[in-house]
Amino acid sequence: MSVETHSTVREPLHRPAGLAGFAADWASDQRTFKNVSWGKAMMWIFLLSDTFVFGCFLVAYMSARMSTAVPWPNPSEVFALHIGGSDVPLILIAIMTFVLITSSGTMAMAVNFGYRRDRKKTALLMVLTALFGATFVGMQAFEWTKLITEGVRPWGNPWGAAQFGSTFFMITGFHGTHVTIGVIFLLIIARKVWRGDFDTERRGFFTSRRGQYEIVEITGLYWHFVDLVWVFIFAFFYLW
């Protein structure tokens, strides 16, 4: 009976799919998520945790809105824009939504080209994504200034429940922060891609780990998550 030494790396055993695979994976050694790298697993679990953060924010918002005896300002009027002599409800928010979705599309493609090791396209698409993200944040800033000039404050507003302002600034602010961080990361990674770090497997400055194109997909996961959160904010905050 030969105990094989560590260095030999055989072709991994074929793994069943479906529920059988589920059981097999959890019962297996080394890795529970087969074919999932450390970085990707980390990002997924982080996103799970972040889901709870936004979940709690939304729960708090729901409770505040459902338990206040004061009328809640009607978002579709508050967020209306005066265009061509008529108020178009929620239009800005709609546009923001589209911008963010678009950025998700470009991000998805960036990942794709990344794995094809097509440096230029990947970097360009990521920069494009970052630009859309920045646009989103910009429009958010516009939205904030608009509301503030109309007299909305964290502690009150002209139309009704004070919690309207507080929850609005808190939730969109927190989401905006996520987007901003995403933009920064996108730009950093884009630069690395452009420089070809991932072809030469250049080591990270802090972590001194070899760079992989997979980082593009991981950044993508984060970015799509930000978009995902917006889907819920859009439904619960603006459409309710």
Partner: protein, 591 residues
């Protein structure tokens, strides 16, 4: 799939990921201070936690002095008293227990026990510690800030927490407290992701989840819970911070404070309580599950017997972890929440008693027909079972909604959670330190000092908190700076209070013996050798002791579960996990 209890190399797949290249420190700073080695980070975490824990311990003496001899120690006025209990509670739960179990033991044991070289993301792991340290420092500064630390109680219930009737409410205290917590959560998340991913993705060949030592199971489950529970705390802190500094009204209804109308309106204090306990209850199990896991290994190792009902133990841990997210409102039975919640939460709460009970049974059944060595770790393990069962059972009083009505917010609650959290897991920590100190330093802790420490701490702590239940039964409320003259409190109760205080001081003194032992033994302790307890788990099979950066020369391969003690037919009474061959595999029972 590999059999839980044993396997031959044929059944073990090839390495799926290539061996990581370690980060090589270039300077003394990157080696010992800004180290990315989980073992060093663990020691940093542990020392910081113990240091701040000592502060909390001293605070507990001051509190006891006030409760035992009201009016004697005039420098403890009401304000200070409330600041003391708040800091005492918060430090003990978050900055001592959580940090020590997950950051300390987690960092040290997970990679070693799983046969990994290090955590999967050493850099984030390092950041985690430094953020934790920052959080601690922010907390400490609040002691020196104008107005002092917050005195809102560790539950920080608004509106009181941010009003002038409470110490630190309108000063810096509460702001620093909340900021510190936010930092802690962020820092912990970095570490937590590390622990979870290392357990899920960083195990060595042959190490299946069902072969992990229960220690890892406990810490792993607790970390997952923390990653899902801390967000609620984070959100609650952010919102209260806004209420305090921006004047929002998340938790603030219309309020007349000392005859003056405040600007707030429409908020709901109950909302904070729900957010807090949605975090808070999982939190108490976060500090309990690692203790469960560790104590299982201590008992098994020192009784030279496999842990009884391993699978049951694992499932119990997982089920407790899951259930603990739907019992939070048992802290709010008398909070004025929707009274019909009582039915739901009382039921879920008492259900948790069943898996917990099974763990207790399996611990004692592991002793049955064992070969019990009464070493220090074993003694502490036994003490843990006694105190935990006692505290857990009083939990059933409080969980049973009607019974909680008279007992809630009395000293009975204080006695309950000290017995179950302030004593039981702490005893496990001590046992664990006596158990793993040889691996960390290469030397044993002094036995005599250890015995003194054990007896005083165990008996003393029991004498502190067992009688305390009856103070609560009389009706003595908690968080009372002084009972004063109260008709229904007999004079004898005050005598009991004095007794408790004296015991607390005695037990406290014993901790100083322990600390001295910790430092003294680094130099003068008996040489331990690689595997002094003749244990099976991987951390005892490292080539060097203390293990070097990277832990192994060549990664170990695991052929059996962690509990092959006293296997029939085996030469030794233990078989290390990385020992191949089918000696006494107990294959019969396996199926």
């Amino acid at each position: 799939m590999v059999d839980i209890r044993h396997g031959t190399s044929e059944q073990i797949g090839p390495a799926e990921v290539e061996d990581v290249e370690l980060y090589h420190p270039h300077s003394w700073w990157t080696r010992y201070v800004f180290s990315q080695d989980a073992k060093i980070i663990a020691v940093q975490y542990a020392s910081t936690a113990i240091a701040i824990g000592m502060v909390a311990l001293v605070l507990s003496w001051l509190m006891r002095l006030q409760l035992g001899f009201p009016g004697v120690f005039t420098f403890i006025d009401a304000e200070r008293y409330y600041q003391f209990i708040t800091m005492h509670g918060m430090i003990m739960v978050i900055y001592l227990l959580t940090a020590l179990f997950l950051g300390g033991f987690g960092n040290y044991l997970i990679p070693l026990m799983l046969g990994a070289r290090d955590m999967v993301f050493p850099y984030a792991n390092m950041l985690s510690y430094w953020l934790y340290l920052l959080a601690v420092l922010v907390l400490v500064t609040s002691f020196f800030a104008p107005g002092g630390p917050t005195g809102a109680g560790w539950t920080l219930y608004p509106p009181q927490a941010v009003l002038s009737g409470t110490p630190g409410g309108k000063d810096w205290g509460i702001i620093l407290m909340l900021s510190s917590l936010i930092l802690f959560v962020i820092g912990f998340t970095m570490g937590g992701l590390n622990y979870v991913v290392t357990v899920l993705q960083g195990r060595t060949r042959g190490m299946t989840l069902m072969r992990m030592p229960l220690t890892v199971w406990g810490i792993f489950t607790a970390t997952v819970m923390a990653l899902l529970a801390f967000p609620a705390l984070f959100v609650a802190c952010v919102m209260m911070l806004f209420d305090r500094v921006l004047g929002t009204s998340f938790f603030m209804p219309a309020i007349v404070e000392m005859g003056e109308q405040l600007q707030h309106g429409g908020g709901s204090p109950i909302l904070f309580q729900h957010l807090f306990w949605f975090f808070g209850h999982p939190e108490v199990y976060i500090v309990a599950l690692p203790a469960f896991g560790i104590v299982s290994d201590l008992i098994s190792t020192h009784a030279r017997k496999n842990i009884f009902g391993y699978r049951m133990m694992v499932w119990a841990i997982v089920i407790i972890g899951a259930l603990s997210f739907i019992v939070w409102a048992h802290h709010m039975y008398v909070s004025g929440m929707n009274p019909y919640f009582g039915f739901f939460f009382a039921t879920t709460t008492l259900i948790i008693a069943v898996p917990t009970a099974l763990k207790v049974y399996n611990w004692v059944l592991t002793l049955w027909r064992g070969d019990i060595h009464l070493t220090l770790p074993m003694l502490f393990a036994l003490a843990f079972i006694v105190t935990f069962v006692n505290g857990g059972l009083t939990g059933l009083f409080l969980g049973n909604v009607v019974v909680d009505v008279p007992l809630s917010d009395t000293m009975f609650v204080v006695a309950h959670f000290h017995m179950v959290m302030g004593v039981a897991p702490i005893l496990v920590i001590f046992g664990a330190i006596y158990h793993w100190y040889p691996k960390v330093t290469g030397r044993m802790l002094n036995e005599v000092m250890g015995q003194i420490h054990f007896w005083v701490t165990f008996v003393g702590a029991y004498l502190i908190f067992f009688p305390m239940h009856y103070l609560g039964l009389i009706g003595m409320p908690r968080r009372y700076y002084e009972m004063g003259e109260t008709a229904f409190v007999p004079a004898s109760a005050h005598t009991l209070n004095e007794f408790i205080t004296i015991m607390a001081l005695v037990v406290g003194a014993a901790q100083i013996v322990f600390l001295f032992n910790l430092i003294w033994s680094i130099r003068h302790g008996r040489e331990a050798g690689g595997n002094p307890w003749r244990a099976t788990t991987l951390e005892w099979q490292t080539p060097e002791t203390p293990p070097r950066h990277g832990n192994w020369k060549e990664l170990p391969v695991v052929y059996r579960w962690a509990y092959d003690y006293s296997v029939p037919g085996a030469a030794e009474d233990f078989i290390p996990q990385n020992q191949p061959g089918s000696t006494g595999l107990g294959a019969e029972e396996a199926s």
